[in-house]
Amino acid sequence: MKVYLDNGATTQVAKEVAEVIDNMLTKNFGNPSSLHQFGEEANEEIVKARETIAKKINANPSEIFFTSGGTESDNLAIKGIAYAYMDKGKHIITTEIEHPAISKTCEHLEKCGFNVTYLSVDKEGFISLEKLENAITDDTILVSIIHANNEIGTIQDMKAISQLCKKKDVLFHTDAVQSFTKVPIDVKAMNIDLLSISGHKIHGPKGIGALFIRKGVKVIPLLHGGDQEGKIRSGTENTPGIVGFAKAVEIISEKDVKQMKELRDRLIDGIQKSVVDAKLNGPKGDKRLANNVNISFKYIEGESMLYHLDGKGVAVSTGSACSSQSLSPSPVLISIGLKPEDAHGSIRFTLSRYTTKEEIDYTIDSVKEIVENLRKISPLKK
């Protein structure tokens, strides 16, 4: 059996999406800026795609800017705001559990003379509103907090955070790459100023994303050139990507999300019933991302677990130090207070709308067998 449970890394492109991409590649291939019919027809598709994506988060189409993915959206948001508002202040607030697209961008800005506060989180990965409020100073221009964490699935309270930002008159950005289409987002009701999303996490293609920028918020572009995307992001539009991205948004339904949640809980319960000393990382229930399961298996190391699962056809990821280039454990798991040896034994399973009950049950059985075998050769298990 082949079971793909690494949908947090990337997803398979939906058939419906592949079809519209093929059409844009081979038939409707014009440059949307061109004045002739070919250009006009391609442009019409982008207009529709922008509307689809705007509607999904209750934004205006003119507030959606297509980029090359989540990484670029995050960079554009953070650097774009930093450079646009540096006269007003040079302080940025973010968290210890951001994706590197945010954390490394902030580290870069620190080298350019900005100050960054990295908020710590509690055992389940939630930030503290009080700490956030205390961190905001007159010099603060931007708060950036990840909506749903990619490793442990913690969903932050967007409304409470943005209200605070509004009260203090600072801009609020969120990386919603993992939550988009899985958690309802309403940028008006949630008072979000900037929001990053990406295509390949939701059965769209890789290399396409978007940044929502509220009307009136200034952003200095990263790329200069032909002035596409309202001068915010130059470069001939990735029309197949944009149209495929919108198609992916169209086809995901509430039923899909509900099914992922049920299977997520089946996997958590199934593993915890059949394996002792298996601790769930991150929160339970509705505050957890619909498709994320992250479990620390005591006494064993994640990379060896990953390869054994791979041998059985089950694809997952791990926060183990052994599997990282830097040979240090996942900073997110350390942030929520895990001991290095427990971060070592962490496995992330991420589901999709295509995951089945049979696949989940097969995974539970495989995990049980592998953990037993690895614990037999573990010097830590007494």
């Binding site: 064993i300 573990s378 010097p379």
Partner: protein
């Protein structure tokens, strides 16, 4: 020696995967004559080597039996297994000469990033033999 260049995606040799999937020496030994336990400062892993030692007809002390328990990655587990195979049947003197390079060679190479895992094997065996000598005194 096959070693993956820095920045390249890590990949393990067939021999590494074979030993990792079916280690021949991975078990806790009952009543060992000596144990060597070492930790890996780089990533925090632990390896334990168990020894049974007997004298042969010439009076040399030989490693009659050896096994391991390892908390670590694919490279650490396969290194432990390769080490045990290299050491089994050797005299203590010969066994002390086993190096990380012998282990890596037996494994048909390790990715650069994983070289340190084989060091763990060399150290664990040496520690076990030292412990044996101390006990004998």
């Amino acid at each position: 020696m096959v070693r993956v260049k820095e920045g390249e995606k890590m990949s393990y040799s067939k021999e590494v995967m074979k030993r990792f999937k079916n280690p021949k020496f991975g078990e806790k030994m009952k009543n060992p004559d000596a144990i060597g336990e070492v930790g890996n400062a780089t990533c925090g892993d632990v390896m334990k080597i168990f020894l049974k030692i007997e004298k042969n007809k010439k009076g040399d002390e030989i490693i009659k039996d050896i096994s391991f328990q390892t908390f670590g990655c694919v490279a650490a587990i396969s290194s432990s297994d390769a080490l045990c195979e290299l050491a089994k049947g050797k005299t203590i003197k010969q066994a002390l000469k086993i190096t990380r390079n012998n282990i890596v060679k037996k494994l048909q190479g390790l990715p650069n990033l994983k070289f340190h895992c084989s060091v763990l094997g060399e150290k664990a065996l040496k520690t076990a033999i030292e412990n044996y000598k101390k006990k004998k005194k």
